[in-house]
């Protein structure tokens, strides 16, 4: 089917529009949303399989040939990311049913949820730089609504900051695209890549390095790298757990994906400056992230700072830019999306049970909630990268790539960060789950059994992802091949 790769964008879009009609009928909304989310998952699975068998899929929207129209491109990286996104979205829906509350559900929660998925899936699939901007905006607009929906004081305050930062970064994005367009005269990514390599046949000219840094600033603001992460700890603290999981798992990763895509496709000629800058910022993000993660006694904050660590680790892998490190970055990116969603769900359950996010006020949860405890334990081990679980292979490959690329300092930082990440999540486990048994207010009403379904699914996937890495690595390697050799991508799109 020619239009297969448009389905992960089209299905949520259609669902979002239909759900506007059903805004007072909560049960109908839930059924439609789950149904469409399952459909998206099936479509994503088909895409992964098709890309695996037949190579990169590209679709010229409205039948205009490649550099002149908008092209959707699904290589293995975007196919895998879309599959991961749809799995997380499905779990997030299940979690939302019992936790988001009727008031929000009546005010277009599921509709906006689906529009967010349109933005994320679109950003992963598009092969046009300005279309990427549009999908970024679709995603950001929906995230503004999800962040502020409910209208509590903290949400209102943090939405203003979040909105301000993102409006500025979007304006910068437009300016960067304008610069790039004035230099290369095209917007299709494959065509840009071709023109850039023509221009920089002998060394990348200064203006392109400037544009590269501008893209790093723009996507760094979305993806929360050092020193552009400042908005994130506050903004992500405000929304309720399922929205937070969606943000933590998807939004920053779209920024990371965009940096990976633009740097490996456009700016790979400038190993001297742009990649070095990326590498330094990635290492600093790891450092800042772990400092934040071990400093706080607030369960949400700890996991939020762990996002910054993961972003740093992935981008470090990208910046080393050899096959092993890229493979590691792709592997770790998918692992991190899954495990961050699971951790935010679990943290949501803990807060739901104890009525507080402060670690010092909770203890002894494992006595009455062993399911929550052990799921959290496994998720923590996976996050830190303990061998049979999914965090291990990715980090191993990144470190291996670092050593091969003679970047010993960065690789050492990545290794040490694992220890502190483990410490930060074990702190939650030891203080929250061990110790004196206490009872909390409102604990009886918490629908723990239902809420636990989503994180258990994700942790199980994460475990399988780690154990079956042998079977999964061919897919990861295929994704990495495209990133290491942009020629594959260009040929698939421009069909020369």
């Amino acid at each position: 089917m020619t239009n297969l790769i448009v389905l992960p964008i089209l299905i949520p879009l259609l669902t979002g529009a239909i759900l506007i009609f059903l805004n007072k009928k909560i049960v109908a909304q839930r059924i439609v949303a789950v149904f469409s989310s399952i459909l998206t998952m099936i479509a994503a699975l088909f895409i992964v399989q098709k890309v695996h068998n037949e190579g990169i899929q590209s679709l010229n929207i409205s039948s205009w040939e490649a550099p002149f129209g908008i092209t959707l491109v699904s290589d293995m990286l975007s196919a895998l990311l879309i599959l991961t996104t749809s799995i997380i979205a499905f779990c997030c829906l299940l979690y939302s049913f019992k936790s988001i509350g009727e008031e929000r559900e009546k005010h277009y929660y599921y509709s906006v949820f689906n529009f967010l998925l349109v933005g994320v899936n679109g950003a992963f699939t598009t092969g046009d730089i300005f279309n990427l901007f549009v999908f970024f905006e679709v995603m950001l607009m929906s995230s503004y609504v999800l962040l502020v929906l409910g209208g509590t004081k903290i949400q209102l305050r943090e939405s203003i900051k979040y909105l301000l930062v993102n409006v500025i970064s979007s304006a910068l994005f437009v300016i960067a695209v304008a610069f790039l367009y004035s230099v290369v005269g095209t917007l299709t990514m494959a065509h840009i890549s071709e023109r850039v390599s023509q221009i920089s046949a002998d060394g990348m000219p200064g203006i392109l390095t400037v544009i590269a840094v501008m893209f790093l600033i723009v996507f760094g603001l979305k993806g929360a790298i050092f020193p552009l992460y400042f908005w994130m700890p506050g903004s992500y603290y405000a929304p309720p757990a399922p929205v937070l999981a969606l943000f933590g798992a998807l939004l920053t990763k779209v920024g990371v994906y965009s940096i990976t895509r633009t740097y490996t496709l456009f700016f790979y000629h400038d190993k001297g400056f742009a990649f070095q800058l990326l590498s330094i910022l990635a290492i600093l993000s790891i450092v800042v992230g772990v400092i934040g993660a071990i400093a706080y006694w607030d369960v949400k904050k700890i996991i939020i700072y762990n996002i910054i660590v993961a972003v740093g680790v992935i981008l470090y892998g990208v910046s080393v830019m050899n096959p092993a490190s890229i493979k590691g970055a792709v592997y770790y990116l998918i692992h991190d999306m899954i495990i961050k969603a699971a951790l935010f769900f679990l943290v949501g359950i803990i807060i739901n049970l104890t009525g507080s996010a402060n670690l010092k006020k909770m203890s002894g949860l494992i006595g009455r909630y062993p399911g929550v405890g052990w799921t959290f334990f496994i998720a923590s081990l996976a996050l830190a990268g303990i061998p049979p679980l999914s965090g291990f292979v990715g980090k191993l490959l990144i470190v291996q790539g670092g050593f091969e690329g003679k970047s010993f300092f960065g690789a050492a930082i990545v290794l040490m960060s694992s220890l502190l990440v483990l410490f930060s999540v074990m702190k939650i486990f030891i203080n929250g789950f061990w110790g004196q048994n206490q009872t909390y207010e409102g604990e009886e009403k918490a629908p723990v059994k239902w809420l636990l379904i989503a994180p258990v699914i994700l942790v199980a996937i994460s475990a399988l992802y780690g154990v079956n890495s042998e079977a999964i690595l061919p897919y990861i390697a295929q994704a990495a091949d495209t990133l290491v050799d942009p020629q594959i991508y260009i040929e698939a799109v421009l069909k020369e």
């Binding site: 409205s62 039948s63 959707l72």
Partner: protein, 141 residues
């Protein structure tokens, strides 16, 4: 509070409104060959309704035009998505449009293009969104 007698405003509205709506429809239909299209057409129609709102109050306007603008937005979205997705049925890439020349009794030969349906979707979305924004702010106390 008793309303003041806006007899001049109300009378001139009756003459003006017709032209504004007509012009917005003209701009909408001319979009393929001249400047214009769904966005500006929709904005101008919304402008006409806003003029109604200024002259009367929200309740009166709601009685004149008993529509829920959120539903209008959703219908517009569905129209645009439907037009683009219908290309799936014909096994051509998403958003591929078609046009044909039709002989109509009064208008003579005109070309009909599926992009107009997409534009109609844009038109509805723009009217719906603008009016939703203005009404929700207006009703707010």
């Amino acid at each position: 509070m008793k309303k003041t007698n806006n007899i001049i405003l109300e009378t001139s509205l009756k003459a003006l409104l017709f032209f504004i709506v007509l012009y917005s429809v003209y701009i909408f239909t001319a979009g393929h060959y001249y400047p214009g299209g769904g966005f500006i057409g929709g904005l101008m129609t919304a402008g006409a309704i806003v003029l109604l709102l200024i002259t009367y109050d929200i309740k009166t306007v709601q009685r004149i035009l008993p529509v829920n603008y959120r539903i209008i937005t959703a219908i517009g979205l569905l129209l645009a998505i439907g037009t683009s997705a219908s290309s799936l049925l014909f096994h051509v890439p998403f958003l591929t449009h078609r046009f044909t020349h039709v002989e109509l009794p009064v208008l003579g030969e005109i070309s009909l293009h599926t992009a107009t349906l997409f534009d109609l979707g844009v038109y509805f979305v723009v009217v719906g969104v603008t009016m939703t924004i203005i009404q929700t702010i207006g009703e707010d106390e």
